[in-house]
Symmetry: C2
Subunit: 358 residues, 2 copies
Amino acid sequence: MSERAFNFSAGPGVLPEEVLLELKEEVPVFKSIGTSVIEISHRSPTYTEIAEAARAHLRTLLGLGEDWHILFLQGGASMQFHQIPLNFLPRGGSADYLDTGAWSAKAVKEAAFFGTGKIAASSKADNYNHIPSPDTWSLDPNAAYLHYTSNNTIFGTQFSFEPNASVPLVCDASSDFLSHPIDVDRYGLIYAGAQKNIGPAGVTVVLIKESFLQGRVQPLPTMLDYGTHTAKLFNTPPVFAVYLVEKVLRWLIGKGGIPGIQTINAAKAKTLYDRIDANDFYRGTVEPDSRSKMNVTFRLPSEELEATFIKEAQEEGLQALKGHRSVGGIRASIYNACPPEAVAALVGYMNAFEQKHG
Amino acid sequence: MSERAFNFSAGPGVLPEEVLLELKEEVPVFKSIGTSVIEISHRSPTYTEIAEAARAHLRTLLGLGEDWHILFLQGGASMQFHQIPLNFLPRGGSADYLDTGAWSAKAVKEAAFFGTGKIAASSKADNYNHIPSPDTWSLDPNAAYLHYTSNNTIFGTQFSFEPNASVPLVCDASSDFLSHPIDVDRYGLIYAGAQKNIGPAGVTVVLIKESFLQGRVQPLPTMLDYGTHTAKLFNTPPVFAVYLVEKVLRWLIGKGGIPGIQTINAAKAKTLYDRIDANDFYRGTVEPDSRSKMNVTFRLPSEELEATFIKEAQEEGLQALKGHRSVGGIRASIYNACPPEAVAALVGYMNAFEQKHG
């Protein structure tokens, strides 16, 4: 087996090595069932136990009561951008959206098929380098919901607070899900593509409060009606992805749950931002109050140096550090499963790189 | 490692053991890339190569020209039931559907959101125990398309021919995809949930002819517009599922492609149906001309014997033989990846069971 690199991919992102070793052990035969989990019916006792365990972990981690449905859907956040207004935007009505990055912008665009997606606040004019302060928001008390993206993978910003609104919150939590507590009482729906913080690509965790679900538009196409999936296991779920998510959630509980990982993540982020702020060689791209603890974006003195930084990092086993094209520079994604050793190695590399090229 | 059982699951179904052993070897590190494939960007060279290889295999296997798009979508066949009329049924127009089982019935239901799904033929009155003969079909020359399900997992029937129609065919090929040749010129769109014949749950292969794509309704919600996905890699695909599909397709080419597997499958099916027909102890549920080479359904003299058959089979390492509740009895799913040894073992067990209980 070759050595594991330090993987800073923005997504699909790094998984805990323990999870992968457990998977390796369980292929081609899981425990004593005679097959792998990839090859069994989604109505089999084995899959049912795995999916129920994953749901139980989520209830434990987030403190979700029985009034919350937990779904494992497909299509990623991009499908939710459509499915949410389809279900919850009364035809011709309106919903509020906070426009804090590329994903928010994609989400609000889909609302227009059913009604109006009102942009209640935006940092677009500043290339999304901050989260707009709540005192600048223009909220509509008649909105069907207020949608926001809790962390912006591309621009490296993150809400350091949860919005207050008189309407239910809907949150795209894809890139910081289970990295901080959620005050679930404020929300109607929370969704997260698994491939950043909780598993592989191919499954979207959707949490829906029963009272919010009850208000959905009817009738709806069967597959896109959330009620189809809250009522029963309607169609074949992405079995492998749920199986891996269960492992990651179990790993997370072993790390002390959200309080445990929050402490680890805070230390990782502080280490990296402290290094960035140590002098002017590296420059953060985001206003300090809006800095993400998941995706750390920064620039070097020139694009040439940035290209060299990425290339030499790769040679040192520090992978996937290239920033998104809309920001440029460097992006280190340090999700839950990114070990502190990876951040330490990156900071060591940054120091050495500055010595050599600074 | 525990022993592999003979797995007759209707889906998610058995995968080639070679594929699973390759997977095992490639976790937690794929080749020399430093991570598993599950943890890399869908825009990375490694994933791009895998997805392109999978597409190339499909072109080879089916003889698809460059006028065919090959998509790896999510949501299974159930999402396609909605997405097809959304894209291709002119609002208020009509399309023809052949009603040959539970999946066909679910497909036609979704057409009603946009226009009329006309049932051109149905075997529902006979509990779907046959494929209606073409001379009984009532086809509409103005239909947007003719939809059919090439194999019916639940009822154990399969088309032994490809429909002739003056309009483009749309085919749900989920449960017999790549088990027989397809005359692609007749089709506008062919789709298959991977979890029966070509991979794990979580990816749907969708083949669309460019000329058919051009006729779609506009505008459409971004994620559900096939054109979004033919234009570029729009959002995160189910990376792991595509990675495994590539392996299965490569395995299939190694078996001699479709002609090779067709010979193997014909022998497997003949062995099993010959045993069923040998006397009256076992009774096939389907009219002989409509028998599926993928899902073989049969009954025993009593429900008590059926329950015993399933229980004792499980103890002998012959798994997942229980028929669907709407048919009852026994169902042996013998997809491409089901080895001939599994069918031989099943027939041996059937003989011994008859000796003991007959």
